[in-house]
Symmetry: C2
DNA sequence: AATGAAATATGGACATC
DNA sequence: GATGTCCATATTTCATT
């Protein structure tokens, strides 16, 4: 598992993934090479899966965000759902869930008309029986990772 | 708005935010300084809000993920919800929504016991009337940003 | 894990289209 | 107005201790 230094390095990278290793090292009390070794190890072990950019959906033209719950036909496998959904560029995340629905899908669209089109296309998939959609009004919090409980 | 080159630069950074400007330039057909200038401009205009690390929640010790729908007391403002939720380190995102619930909250917990504790604490907040929670079974897709419709 | 050296990337200044 | 080239500086990366 991760020790305290690893936690702090991940936290520093979560805040700004382009900070230099020397800079991070100063925050956590290590030299730049020592930080790099730990980051390399975190990548090897899979704790860190990559580095990415944080974008403002609205600034990129995505004005409408929503969550679509999928009720699938009996005996639809998670893999079948994944294959069916992966060609939608508007889908940002999808997961199978407990409860009434089988999966929840997070969608970004340019506007309401676009959202409706995506919804109708998804609802028309062979494995989808019905959908229930919810629109995001305004984001309150957005973080990269949960922080340690204590 | 963003032109085609900007889109491709953002896409390249979404895939790996630590790629060098020279490397990105080769992909999109620009020199390194030209790429940097565009990235600087994208940050200034707010299209890019930062760079971050992509982590594997499970590898970091978060085995249990869930979504909690919040039904709030009448006249609870979005800002009050935000203030109430921001001190929970287990909360990764929260948004106000249309539909029956007032907000949806995405939570990572170490295990089921931990998730239950977080749920009970959130349900005990003054502004929360009741909650409805759903557990994530398995993630099917996870992306940084929607890609252009065409 | 730190140090120091070599390779590489960044980020200006300036000229060009 | 945006891009390319050049160059000084800063950073990464690797060998050594």
């Amino acid at each position: 598992m991760l020790d305290d230094l690893d936690e702090r390095i991940v936290h520093a990278l979560a805040g700004d993934a382009r900070r230099t290793y020397a800079d991070i090292g100063q925050s956590v009390g290590l030299s730049a090479p020592a930080v790099k070794r730990r980051v390399d190890r975190l990548r090897e072990t899979g704790a860190i899966t990559g580095f990415t950019v944080r974008v403002d959906p609205a600034a990129l033209g995505w004005q409408t965000e929503g969550v679509i719950e999928l009720y699938c036909r009996p005996h639809t496998s998670p893999e079948a759902i994944r294959r069916g959904l992966e060609r939608y560029p508007e889908i940002v995340s999808a997961s199978t869930v407990t409860g009434d629905a089988d999966a929840i899908v997070q969608v970004f669209a340019a506007d309401m008309r676009h959202f409706e089109q995506v919804l109708e296309r998804i609802a028309g998939e062979q494995f989808v029986e019905r959908t229930k959609s919810t629109l995001i009004l305004s984001p309150l919090l957005r973080r990269v990772t949960a922080t340690p409980p204590a």
